[in-house]
Amino acid sequence: MTFAEIQAQANLEWEALNNGGRPQITVGTATCGRSAGAMAVVKAFEEELQAKGIDAALVEVGCIGPCYAEPLVNIKKPGWATVSYRNVTAEMAREIVAAFLLGDDPLAKYALGVFGEGEIAGIPNILSTPAFKPQERRVFRNCGTIDPTNINHYIANDGYIGLNKALGMRQEEVVDVMKRSGLRGRGGGGFPAGRKWEAGLKAKGTQKYVVCNADEGDPGAFMDRAVIEGDPHSVLEGMIIAGYTIGADTGYIYVRAEYPLAIRRLERAIQQAHEFGFLGQNILGTNFSFEIRIFPGAGAFVCGESTALTLSIEGKRGMPRVAPRPRTTEVGLYDKPTLLNNVKTFSSAPMIITRGAEWFASVGTEKSTGTAIFALTGKVQNCGLIEVPMGITLRDIIYDIGGGIADGGQFKAVQTGGPSGGCLPESLLDTPIDYDSLDAAGSIMGSGGMVVMDEKTCMVDVARYFLDFTEIESCGQCVPCRLGTKQLLDILKDICSGRGKPEDMDLLYELSHSVHGGSVCGLGQTAANPVLTTLRYFRDEYEAHINDRCCPAKVCKSLISYVIDKEKCVGCTLCAKSCPVQAISGEKKKIHSIDQALCVQCGVCLEKCPKKFSAIACVSPKVKQEES
């Protein structure tokens, strides 16, 4: 079949699904949807459609983004705008079938919004809501709208056009388009992708490799998984184009073993791409041949570093090569020239080739073109995956898209870039999101984790948390990283447990710079960022811990006590019954008290004390012993 015939066939199938006169139900069943119960919703729809004898298409799609609304279901009924339903349960699914598919009541109370043509009274248009309006879905173009296991859906949505076009271009021309697009590596480093592709093309050697880094290890980031689960072919297409451009015949996808669904989706997509002639020998009738293999990573954060990743594929310990080291584009996998990019970088390539460099650069800033994807989580109302034009401010993301701070809390900090990033305070909320501005503020773009923190988050504890992570994940070959992270962690633990000394702050600062300067790879060089930014922006919290033995956020256990307010306690005994260490005494209808010597600060009593009494409080600094 020619590419035009393949397209015609795919369009026919897509048209029949979308305009075939049947209602269409799509359910987001990526990992996040499944965790929220999407599979039970799919089953409920299946059973209900069969029981009621309704002819409708039921399609499982990838992640749509608003995790707070999962499981998310879209219903497209002929003659109506598409309705998006939030937090759907099996019971709601049955209700929706009866009311909307059999009747004409779209059940506005369950709807998140509508999109597509038409309006429905009482339901807002999703794209006009603050949570969606600033978003621009490019890398996520197909996530949540197509069936990721059906290659025809991808083809019908401009899939593989970029590959077909690239194969008709000279390799230098592809490099030129990539360079002009301004695309920067989406793994976090931000190295210009076009220049990397050019280096790959120019590297000498008959055997070259393309490697896709899907070893998404940052705690708090899961967009690469969403892209693979929701639109695996976009990643494959980008890799095949890259293979053609640099002259490689093999590609590897290094993907976390903890992402079983993503691996299954990739396996299936690779098989389909073979069947359609997009992979294998003589792709689309040209003399270009390319294969893609999946390599499940075995769990080591440092393998996100390019030299460590390639060593890991070779079956070795993933320890970054020591300096001086040639670039991976010259000496990479099996010592051959290797082009290594992140999932989102590869996924961006097809649309750049298809729609042009200027189209890609039409959003974003001058030095950071295109869109950025973030996993917006933490103490924010609307958690989820978002895609926004580069240059938007942190404030717009947190307050418009994120809907502000959850549970009526107060904003304290936003952490971007994972363990290599930093915590930025309220005064920097108007920082635009781009590689250089975040860098200047002391944080990084990183892989796109964005965790919002409120007044109940202790910034010293956050620094300790990240160092705990990097200390474990340090591969150990550079002494300043291996021992430096350990010492940083020990000092932070001391401060959190009330053993901090005034000189500790200077020591943290000095050590941080040693770790930065004495490590060969990005992990070590950035490991101290969480310490440095919290010291810079939240020094008062360090001082409170050290000088007053007080944790203002009431998080650090050694510095807090739980106490019972004698005025409010009615002696309901709930706290005493739930205390795991029997530290609470008191008879029924008599005032209770907590034995501070026994208390382990688990906080269960505070959770159990009925809201109408609110007799238990958490205080810092510690109290000695409650008077009884």
């Binding site: 999962e70 903890e258 965790v451 959770e607």
Partner: protein
Amino acid sequence: MEERLQTVLAPYKGKRDMLIPILQQVQAALGYLPDDAMAEIARTTGLPESRVYAVASFYAQFRFTPRGKHTIMVCRGTACHVRGAEKILEETERTLGIVEGETTKDLEYTLETVACIGCCALAPCIMIDEDVEAKLTPKMVSEIITGRNTA
């Protein structure tokens, strides 16, 4: 064990660069990496045993002790951390009577922590085998585990 091990190893004779996939498959078949299996992997691939151990001990996925029938993974991702993962871990440890990294004496549960499950929007969460339990409180944790044991 011997037979299952041979089936897994059969296609990999001399394939040194397949060491990580081999370790993954052996662990999937046996549940962990016993000493005998490590020696056999070394023989099959032609790698020194020290190299096989060096690689296996580097990656978080591999373990050298038997596991419980069920695995409970407490997520310690950033989002879970700021939403109270520490308390969730403590409560899980208290309920099971073991600490992170251990297996209960009846070989029912292995308790682990994981850098991030990737359900950050549903924090804090734990994973029991393949099922994610989301938006937890310490109280819910003990209820879930006790509920499973009495069911």
